[in-house]
């Protein structure tokens, strides 16, 4: 069977099974949250934009917030046969993109997203096994549900597998 690459856009989340891969292109201040269940060979990727959905109104899409995205991701992965006690996490993104940034909150959104994702992983007791976050550059990530490897690609800042 040919492995497919499933795209996960901004403010979206998807689940895939080996040998398929999950991909998010152009993460800036957003954080790609990858959960992996090694036994079930099941992976999930959420492309998180903001730290918290608690105050949000007029919002139907909960995949964009760190807190609600993680709730959703744990839920859909368990429905797909995963078990949260086996989940491990890898995250990437959370950069500060603009070189001549003001001191406004939106410019520090990346850092706040990373913090929020880490807090919510702790809330579920999910172990963060690797991360590639911060800096001032974008990242494209490819999450391999066969191995749990997370490939991080950048422009001018190298390529690595975490």
């Amino acid at each position: 069977m040919m492995a497919q690459i499933i795209q996960v856009g901004m403010a979206d989340l998807k689940v895939a099974r080996a040998p398929d891969k999950l991909m998010s292109a152009g993460l800036g201040s957003c954080v790609g949250v990858c959960l992996y269940d090694k036994t079930a060979k099941l992976g999930g990727l959420a492309h998180v934009m903001l730290p918290s959905g608690l105050q949000a109104k007029n919002v139907e899409n909960r995949a964009k917030f760190a807190d609600t995205a993680l709730d959703m991701l744990v839920d859909v992965m368990e429905k797909a046969g995963g078990n949260r006690t086996r989940f491990t996490a890898k995250i990437a993104g959370g950069a500060q993109m603009f070189r001549f940034a003001g001191d406004s909150d939106i410019m520090r959104i990346g850092e706040r997203n990373v913090q929020a994702v880490e807090e919510n992983l702790r809330r579920y007791g999910i172990k963060l096994v690797a991360k590639d976050t911060g800096g001032n550059f974008g990242r494209t990530i490819v999450f391999d549900t066969e191995t749990g490897d997370l490939l991080v690609k950048t422009i001018g800042h190298g390529e690595r597998v975490i």
Binding site: M10, A11, G26, L27, G28, E60, K64, M97, G138, T140
Partner: protein, 206 residues
């Protein structure tokens, strides 16, 4: 507050397109004067789309681009973005600085500053036109420049809108140099509250 952009009437969308047209027309003229060359522009589009689809307008989330961002404050809040493929941004610097095409290969301090100035001038001329029509006070921030994947450049800007809703409304215009490729895409994203003020100032508040 207009929280559902899809409730906007045809008349309201036409009014937005019209002010967008005049604003972008003035901005194109300003850009043409800076590089001493004719600039063509497309009729502005009013796009209402989910956050996740915005990077497609800039050529895809992992397209290598230069983005100049300005926040707008005053009586109506908005974000302005000028997004160019990197090779076009380098050409634009060549034209701005009177270099032969192809000379500029990297963006150092002076090149960054030149592109920020372009962003500044196009945004200000656009806002002047909009302010004249609406009587609103519109103040652009200092421009910020980023050079990276389009999705990454857009993230922080779109995050502000993501806190309010799942969709954004974008006025989009393409600038082209005469007989050549696109120079860049010019986007204006009014915040929902600002949109209401602009429409009401134009006399089409539904």
């Amino acid at each position: 507050m207009i929280s559902d952009f899809n409730q906007l009437s045809g008349l309201q969308l036409d009014a937005l397109r019209e002010v967008g047209n005049i604003g972008a027309g003035n901005a194109a003229t300003a850009l043409a004067q800076m590089i001493n060359s004719k600039i063509e522009m497309t009729v502005p589009r009013v796009n209402i789309l989910p956050l996740g689809e915005v990077p497609d307008l800039a050529g895809g989330a992992d397209r290598f681009v230069v983005g100049v961002y300005l926040g707008v404050t005053g009586s109506a809040r908005a974000s302005i973005l000028f997004v160019m493929p990197v090779e076009n941004a380098l050409h634009l610097v060549d034209m701005l600085m009177g270099r032969n095409l192809g000379v500029t290969q990297t963006l150092d301090e002076i090149e960054v500053s030149a592109l920020q100035e372009v962003g500044n001038i196009i945004a200000s001329t656009y806002l002047n036109a909009l302010a004249m029509f609406t009587g609103l006070t519109l103040i652009p921030s200092v421009p910020a420049l980023g050079m990276d994947m389009a999705g990454a450049i857009l993230n922080a800007v779109l995050a502000q809108f993501g806190a309010i809703g799942d969709y954004v409304l974008m006025l989009e215009t393409e600038f082209k140099k005469e007989g050549q490729d696109v120079v860049g895409h010019f986007f204006v994203l009014p915040e929902p509250g600002a949109l209401e003020m602009i429409l009401s100032a134009l006399g089409v508040n539904g």
